[in-house]
C-alpha cells in the first residue's frame, strides 16, 4: 500500500552506551520529495541515517519505510525493501577489489537474471548519467574523490530505486562538481520520481535541492520545514547554522572548571 509518505519516523530514540544520541525524532518524508537532514557535527544526523537504512537498531520508536516498520520486521522483508533503495555513502564505499563497472553491476548480478548485454548497456547508461563513462574499467583506488562519489551514485541508482540516500554527497568536492551533483539529484527526482534523503551540512547545496529541510541539534529535532520556513525561523540554533556563527560557549566558570578537572568516568 503506497502511503503518501515514503518514510515515517515515529518518536525515535537512539542510545550509544549510556549517552543518548537521538531523542524523540518525528519526521515524515513524502513520496517524490527531496528531504535534506541538516545539523552540526555531533547532532546525530549520520546515526539517524544509519537507523533509516536499518544498519542500526534504535532503542525505541518506529521507522515505516514504504509501509513496513523496518525496526520490527523479518530480515527477509528488510532485504526485500533494500532492493528498492540506493545508498551513496560519504566515502563512496566502492569495492576496491572490483572495477567501477563491476561495482555498479553487482546488485544486478545478485538480484536479477538479466542478460549480459542488458546489464552492460544499463551500466553504461548510468555511468553516462554521472559522466563517468570513460572511467568504466578503472579500479576505485585510481579515482579522485569526486569520481568515487559519482561512481557510488551510479551504483546507488543502477536498480532505479524508489528511495535514494546520500551521506554528505558534496563533502570534499569542488564547487563545480558539487553543483553538477546537485543538478543530477534534482533531475533524478523529477524524471525518475525518486524520494531522496540527503544528509549534509553544505549550505549552498541544501537550498539548491531541498524541498523540505529537517534540522537536528544535539540529538533533538529542531525544526522541519520548507527552505523559506527555515530561513525565516527565529530559533538561534537554526540561525546559527544558517549564517554560520560559531557557538558561543557561555557556560559559567564553576561548571567549566569542574568539567576540565574531573577524571574520565
Amino acid at each position: 500500500m503506497e502511503t503518501a509518505n515514503a518514510i515515517e519516523i515515529r518518536d525515535l530514540d537512539v542510545d550509544y552506551g549510556s549517552r543518548r544520541i537521538l531523542s524523540d525524532i518525528n519526521i515524515d518524508i513524502r513520496q517524490g520529495e527531496i528531504m535534506v537532514i541538516m545539523g552540526g557535527s555531533g547532532s546525530g544526523k549520520s546515526t539517524l541515517l544509519r537507523c533509516i537504512l536499518g544498519l542500526k537498531k534504535p532503542s525505541a520508536g518506529h521507522i515505516y519505510m514504504l509501509g513496513t516498520d523496518i525496526c520490527h520486521t523479518s530480515n527477509k522483508k528488510l532485504y526485500g525493501l533494500r532492493e528498492q533503495i540506493g545508498v551513496a555513502f560519504q566515502g563512496g564505499a566502492l569495492f576496491t577489489s572490483m572495477t567501477v563497472a563491476e561495482n555498479i553491476q553487482l546488485p544486478l548480478r545478485e538480484h536479477t537474471n538479466l542478460d549480459e548485454n542488458t546489464i552492460q548497456i544499463m551500466t553504461r547508461i548510468k555511468l553516462d548519467m554521472v559522466n563517468m563513462l570513460p572511467y568504466e574499467n578503472l579500479m576505485p583506488s585510481e579515482l579522485s574523490g569526486g569520481m568515487k562519489k559519482r561512481a557510488a551514485l551510479a551504483r546507488a541508482i543502477i536498480m532505479d530505486p524508489k528511495l535514494l540516500f546520500f551521506d554528505e554527497p558534496s563533502a570534499g568536492l569542488d564547487p563545480i562538481t558539487s553543483a553538477e551533483l546537485d543538478e543530477l539529484i534534482v533531475m533524478l527526482k523529477e524524471s525518475m520520481k525518486m524520494t531522496i534523503v540527503v544528509v549534509t551540512h553544505e549550505l549552498e547545496s541544501v537550498f539548491a535541492i531541498a524541498d523540505r529541510i529537517a534540522i537536528l541539534g544535539e540529538g533533538q529535532l529542531v525544526q522541519v520545514g520548507t527552505p523559506e520556513e527555515i530561513k525565516s525561523s527565529t530559533d538561534e540554533r537554526v540561525t546559527g547554522l544558517l549564517n554560520r556563527t560559531p557557538r558561543k560557549n557561555n557556560v559559567d566558570k564553576d561548571v567549566h572548571i569542574e568539567r576540565l578537572t574531573r577524571d574520565k568516568e
Partner: protein
C-alpha cells in the same frame, strides 16, 4: 587499583564476546550456505588465494622441515643403532603431527592475516554497510566463500606438505647420510597406517575451518571490538591479534584432537 581490575573485567568480557561472535558467525554461515543462490566462482577464487598462492610457501617449508627431521632423527637413532627406522620416524611424525600444524601455521601467516586485513578495511570503509544496503548479506557474500575455501585448501596443502617433507627426509637420510633406501621406504610403508593419515586429515580440516573462521570473524566484526574506532591502526592490531589467536588455537586443538582421536 580498581581501575586495573575493571580493565581486566572489560578485557574478559570483550574476549568472551568475541568468542561468542565467532561461533555465531560459524552458525550463521552454516545456515545460510544451504540457502540458494549458490555461487561457485567466489569459492574457487578464494581457494586460489588461500590454497594455490600458498603452495610455494608450503613446498619450501615442507622440504626444509623434512630435511631437518631427517638429520635430527638420524643423529638420535644412530646412538641406538637402529637407523633403519628413520623412514617411519620421519613419516609418522610428519603425517600425524608436524604436517597439519605447520601447514596451518604457514596458512595463518600468509592467508589468514590477508583475510583479516581485507575484511577489516572493508568494514571501516563502509563497504560492508554498502553490501548490506544492497540487500546482499555480507556474511554470506564475503565470509562464506573464505571459510569453505579454508576447509578445502588447508587439507590439500597438508598432503602436499607431507609428501614434500617425506621427500626431504629421504633426501637427507638416504642420499646424504646413506641410510638404506629400502629400509627408509619399507620402514615408512610398514609403520604408517591409514589411521595416521586420517588423523592428519581430520586435524587439517579442523585447522582449516578454525583459522579462516577466527581471521574472518576478527576482521568482519572489527567495528564491534575495541579496535573498531582506531581506523587503519585498529585493522593492523586486529590482524596481529587474529594471527596470534589462530596460531595458539591451532596448537591447542592439535593436542585436543591428538588426545581424543588416537
Amino acid at each position: 587499583m580498581i581501575k586495573a581490575i575493571s580493565n581486566l573485567g572489560s578485557y574478559a568480557i570483550e574476549t568472551i564476546e568475541q568468542i561468542g561472535r565467532t561461533f555465531n558467525l560459524l552458525l550463521i554461515i552454516a545456515w545460510k550456505m544451504c540457502l540458494p543462490p549458490y555461487q561457485i566462482f567466489p569459492i574457487i577464487k578464494q581457494i586460489y588465494f588461500i590454497g594455490a598462492r600458498s603452495l610455494t610457501v608450503i613446498i619450501i617449508s615442507g622440504a626444509t622441515i623434512g630435511m631437518v627431521l631427517g638429520l635430527q632423527f638420524y643423529n638420535t637413532l644412530e646412538r641406538f643403532g637402529s637407523v633403519g627406522v628413520l623412514g617411519s620416524a620421519v613419516a609418522l611424525s610428519i603425517i600425524r603431527e608436524l604436517g597439519p600444524v605447520m601447514t596451518a601455521l604457514m596458512v595463518v601467516g600468509r592467508a589468514g592475516s590477508a583475510i583479516c586485513a581485507e575484511l577489516g578495511i572493508m568494514r571501516i570503509t563502509e563497504q560492508v554497510d554498502a553490501l548490506e544496503c544492497m540487500a546482499i548479506p555480507p556474511d554470506k557474500y564475503l565470509v562464506a566463500p573464505k571459510l569453505i575455501a579454508g576447509i578445502v585448501s588447508v587439507p590439500l596443502l597438508n598432503f602436499v606438505f607431507n609428501v614434500v617433507a617425506i621427500g626431504g627426509g629421504y633426501f637427507v637420510g638416504v642420499i646424504m647420510l646413506g641410510v638404506g633406501e629400502g629400509s627408509y621406504v619399507n620402514g615408512m610403508i610398514d609403520s604408517v597406517v591409514w589411521g595416521d593419515v586420517r588423523l592428519g586429515m581430520v586435524k587439517s580440516i579442523i585447522f582449516g575451518m578454525l583459522i579462516t573462521l577466527i581471521c574472518c570473524a576478527k576482521g568482519f566484526y572489527l567495528h564491534l571490538s575495541q579496535y573498531g574506532s582506531q581506523g587503519a591502526e585498529g585493522v593492523s592490531r586486529a590482524t596481529t591479534d587474529a594471527v596470534v589467536i589462530s596460531s595458539v588455537s591451532v596448537l591447542f586443538f592439535d593436542f585436543l584432537i591428538g588426545a581424543l582421536m588416537s
